[in-house]
Symmetry: C2
Subunit: 333 residues, 2 copies
């Protein structure tokens, strides 16, 4: 990478920017591999997710700092969706020849900001040239207590389905950015928060860990591919049907207004729009007290009941007294 | 990915090809993240390394099965270089639009072959489209006993430097492939083994784990960026100098003959050629007995003494009674 100088120089630059390692990081970045002390009495959670230029982000719409932030956030969201707490991240950066050291610093700004918010230590990583897109591929470890794991196949008929936060904002934010780029608008106004949620997802780390710890939930997953997809996956994995009540959905108001202004059905758009990184969780009726306990400690993140798992096999949306099939899901692929 | 159909379909196809999960894989691929039981009493080793089209492989010279094999092998090599044993892998695949299901199967053939040889279980992964190169980015976990960790900074003046196997073969194999593509030759003849070592590196997993377990070594790293680079890194990290004796280097004979036929210095070419995935280890004189014990159980992998760490700060090559600077290293970047 001629513009960056040597690989070693870039790695040294990155290492110098990492905050002090926790005591559990026995061998920090710089050796063949990292060595860490596992959390006592816990199982380990492992995940990986990549953020790829042209596929997951567009440099016109997200800064490289946003890209770095997002790459860490989406992995942390997967750990939270298991009821776990993220611990260490490995960064694999694929950098095109045009990458400057300022670009690397911007990526790191976002990576370290999200890592700091979530108390995740960077354990190691890898740099490679890319002949094409810039890629931030993150692998993450976390920990979870045995019997506190939130799989997606643990739901039972009658469990209530709850979703954190609001839905549709990230998808509306991205659509607004695309439309505004065409119209050369820059002031997002009412769409400002939607744009922010596209650029910097806010994974529900505290709620996920509490849903596991309190055993309030029986099944959980994040909404990376949209709410409709998550409902389908939990129901299919749990061997149940599901009923969602459209009137209960916590649509983001600005997103709903945007979708409506574009002649779109806001319910379908919000349910199939990806990248919300909220959590969908199944909660048995008798664990409602535990759920209220999680809600009280969620620091303002709402948990909204949107329907339930059913013994009948269909997966349906109830809207205005009518039964509809669930809107067809979004796919990153 | 129109040629592949849906992301979910490809993921299901991959999951069906995975062998039965070990009991320690509590939540297998298919959920938000994997959950595993850590090895009791052990620390955990974490690493990541990517194999990128056009940068690390050329489809004219390696099959996709070779690419998959190599992606797992190079990560396992990093774990072995810490004295650890690899356990789980996460696969992040970036697939260009032209990818077919047969391509995915070929990648998996190689991935699963190396994983099976090394008893590594695929814990999870991620699929993404790629607007450019095909990328196999692997993150790997392993385990190592406390006080058995082979860092690169543990060497002391007087420690002998030993290298496994032979050097130069992978670099010579790649050079032969490039030259032969130009000349439209296909029969590698005497270069067959060099070509194989470029395509399918053979990480020294057993020797690495034994060097850690027996505490024969004080410092270790793999030769992914060439022997000269590894000597420099161990010496710099350990705060020592190093002397390498050119006459002791275990040059691969076919590689040496190839470099000579090309008018190159075979010692410099073999020392700076990357991708050998042998191990360089520093061994104190009084631990020679332990090293011989490792050698006896190495199943024929030679361990060759090539020089030593020194209290004088220089890093030098002795050749024909003359002292030279070490050849300048290879960089993947």
């Amino acid at each position: 990478l001629s513009s960056l100088g040597s690989e070693r120089g870039v790695i040294d630059h990155i290492r110098r920017r990492l905050p002090a390692a926790p005591a559990s990081l026995i061998v920090a970045p710089g050796d063949d591999a990292a060595v860490v002390v596992p959390e006592r009495g816990a199982f380990q959670v492992l995940t990986t997710d990549a953020v790829v230029e042209e596929i997951h982000f567009d440099r016109r719409f997200s800064s490289l700092s946003d890209v770095g932030y997002r790459a860490v956030a989406v992995n942390a969201s997967d750990i939270a969706a298991m009821g776990g707490t993220p611990t260490f991240a490995l960064l694999s950066l694929l950098l095109p020849p045009s990458t400057s050291l300022a670009d690397v610093d911007a990526l790191l700004d976002g990576i370290l900001e999200m890592a700091s918010e979530a108390r995740i230590a960077i354990a190691g990583g890898n740099l490679s040239r890319s002949p094409g897109p810039l890629v931030v591929d993150v692998a993450m470890t976390g920990h979870v207590r045995p019997r506190r794991i939130l799989r997606r196949d643990g739901g039972r008929p009658g469990d209530g389905l709850y979703v954190t936060g609001t839905i549709g904002a990230a998808a509306a934010g991205l659509e607004w950015l695309k439309a505004s780029a065409a119209a050369q608008r820059t002031d997002a106004g009412a769409m400002d928060e939607c744009v922010r949620r596209h650029r910097r997802p806010n994974p529900r780390l505290r709620v996920g860990a509490m849903l596991g710890r309190t055993r309030a939930g029986t099944a959980c997953m994040d909404l990376s591919d949209g709410l409709a997809d998550a409902v389908r996956q939990i129901a299919e994995a749990s061997g149940t049907g599901a009923t969602i009540d459209a009137s209960l959905l916590p649509l983001d108001p600005a997103a709903a207004a945007w979708f409506t202004s574009q002649g779109r059905d806001p319910v379908a758009a919000a349910m199939t729009g990806g990248d919300d990184y909220e959590l969908l969780v199944a909660v048995p009726r008798k664990r409602g007290g535990r759920l209220r306990g999680v809600q009280r400690q969620s620091r303002g993140v709402p948990l909204t009941r949107i329907g339930e798992l059913t013994s009948e096999p269909g997966i349906v949306l109830i809207r205005g007294g009518q039964v509809e099939p669930l809107p067809t899901g979004f796919s990153h692929f």
